[in-house]
Symmetry: C2
Subunit: 239 residues, 2 copies
DNA sequence: CGCGTATCTTGACGAGTGTCAAGATTTCTC
DNA sequence: GAGAAATCTTGACACTCGTCAAGATACGCG
């Protein structure tokens, strides 16, 4: 009956007498945040359905059907459908905002970074198209639904930072600095990425190859000092 | 009862014996395409509601309530809710795809074109934000709903062409040619425009000014021959 | 074991949806 | 002006939705 419904305010009852809380023996078992594990499991399940049907058509019953739970359990872990959705997309963002960290860390030259970046962009469209279209769906919905805007704004900022890290590293490798502000760069890439996603979902041949080439053509323009940026570099090394 | 429901196949009964069809006397009254006028009036009404609520939340009853018709009349002019929506957005596109024709026609110099273009972009966000968010909503929905894709693809192409006309004129005024392919340019501008729209709807101060500046900064990069593109030009003449 | 709590299932309620058919109303034609 | 066709209104249908409450089940601690 209690209906706590997990409003952030962690009720202090859940913990043992506050001793052993960071104890050495069992770092895995936490009695109270099993809640959080369940929430995440439910979110993971919900994300599949959301990516398949979109925000509007994905009912709580359908979400529950594609999971191991029944449709009523949602209201045990979330107050609201909207709270579930926001939790889902926040959860997804956490895992994906570092997608290009490897690119940044491992790139050895400007051209190498461009190649790795393009590959990763194409890869994420192929492997996670449903998640990306869900994100665009939610961002569009936030233009109508006030209560989505805070989460969407935060995620957009995270993505902008993610792109900025790539471009900054690219500029550093080229021995110069970015010539365009981060918000603009993010907007540009987001736009061409969205077009590529649309083309891919439409089954347009070459949509992915186009994206790779477009990014490769765009990156050099983002740098200050158009000093013949490493043309005639050995640009193989990555298929 | 007949339930024609306006599937393009214009049933030949509606016309008089095919005489006088292009008659001189009454060029205004066309007996059969009053249908089309009604459809357009209904669409115009529906667009208001759709821009306010979005695709998913705008019910046919709500659409009809905000119009002079009753909710049943929709099925007299359209087979389907989806057919209405597609008709609406196609109708809207027709009127808006030439928004920048004036800019193209009247610009007297590269910088003048950039200024006019930026002003027009800002203006359309202020005056037609609901229509733009509706468009982004529909494009996102098309990633889930197969039956929307054809219309969305066509409209996207029209918008790409529209942007291409602006950039081509800009390059011509600068005495050079575009250095970036039209799809990429469209993707870029669409991305930064979408970000500006989001910022504007979020009430972020400076979102519109940022857009103007971003576009002004981006345009010169689209040209081949970075030959100091008309710097120190008299760039007044437009506030 | 047995009780109390946490977790989950089931079934229902009311509101809202797209769709459609039957009838009222307007409009046009002879 | 009468009759027919086009146009519009009304009311209902089958269905889905989010929400919630009451009861079933699992679990942990004494």
């Amino acid at each position: 009956m209690v209906r706590m419904a997990s409003t952030g305010a962690r009720e202090g009852v859940s913990f043992p007498p506050m001793t052993q809380v960071a104890a050495p023996k069992s770092p895995r078992r936490t009695p109270a945040d099993k809640h959080d594990e369940r929430r995440k499991a439910l979110a993971e399940s919900a994300l599949r359905t959301l990516g398949e049907l979109g925000y509007a058509r994905a009912s709580l019953r359908e979400i529950a059907n594609n999971s191991e739970f029944s449709h009523g359990v949602v209201h045990y872990y979330f107050n609201d459908k909207l709270e579930l959705i926001v939790f889902c997309v926040r959860y997804y963002k956490e895992t994906c905002v570092h997608r290009y960290d490897g690119v940044v860390a491992e790139a050895t030259s400007p051209d190498d970074l461009v190649a790795r970046f393009g590959d990763k962009l194409v890869e994420t469209i192929v492997e996670e198209a449903p998640m990306h279209r869900l994100w665009y769906d939610l961002r569009s919905q936030s233009m109508f639904e006030e209560s989505l805007r805070e989460a969407v704004t935060q995620i957009d900022q995270s993505l902008e930072d993610m792109i900025a890290r790539v471009v900054n590293r690219y500029a550093a490798l080229a021995g110069t600095e970015p010539a365009i502000a981060a918000p603009v760069v993010y907007g540009m890439f987001d736009g061409v990425f969205q077009q590529a996603l649309l083309g891919y979902l439409n089954g347009r041949d070459g949509a992915l190859e186009d994206l790779r080439n477009q990014v490769a053509g765009l990156m050099p323009m983002l740098l200050a000092q158009p000093a013949e940026t490493t043309i005639s570099h050995e640009q193989g090394e990555l298929a």
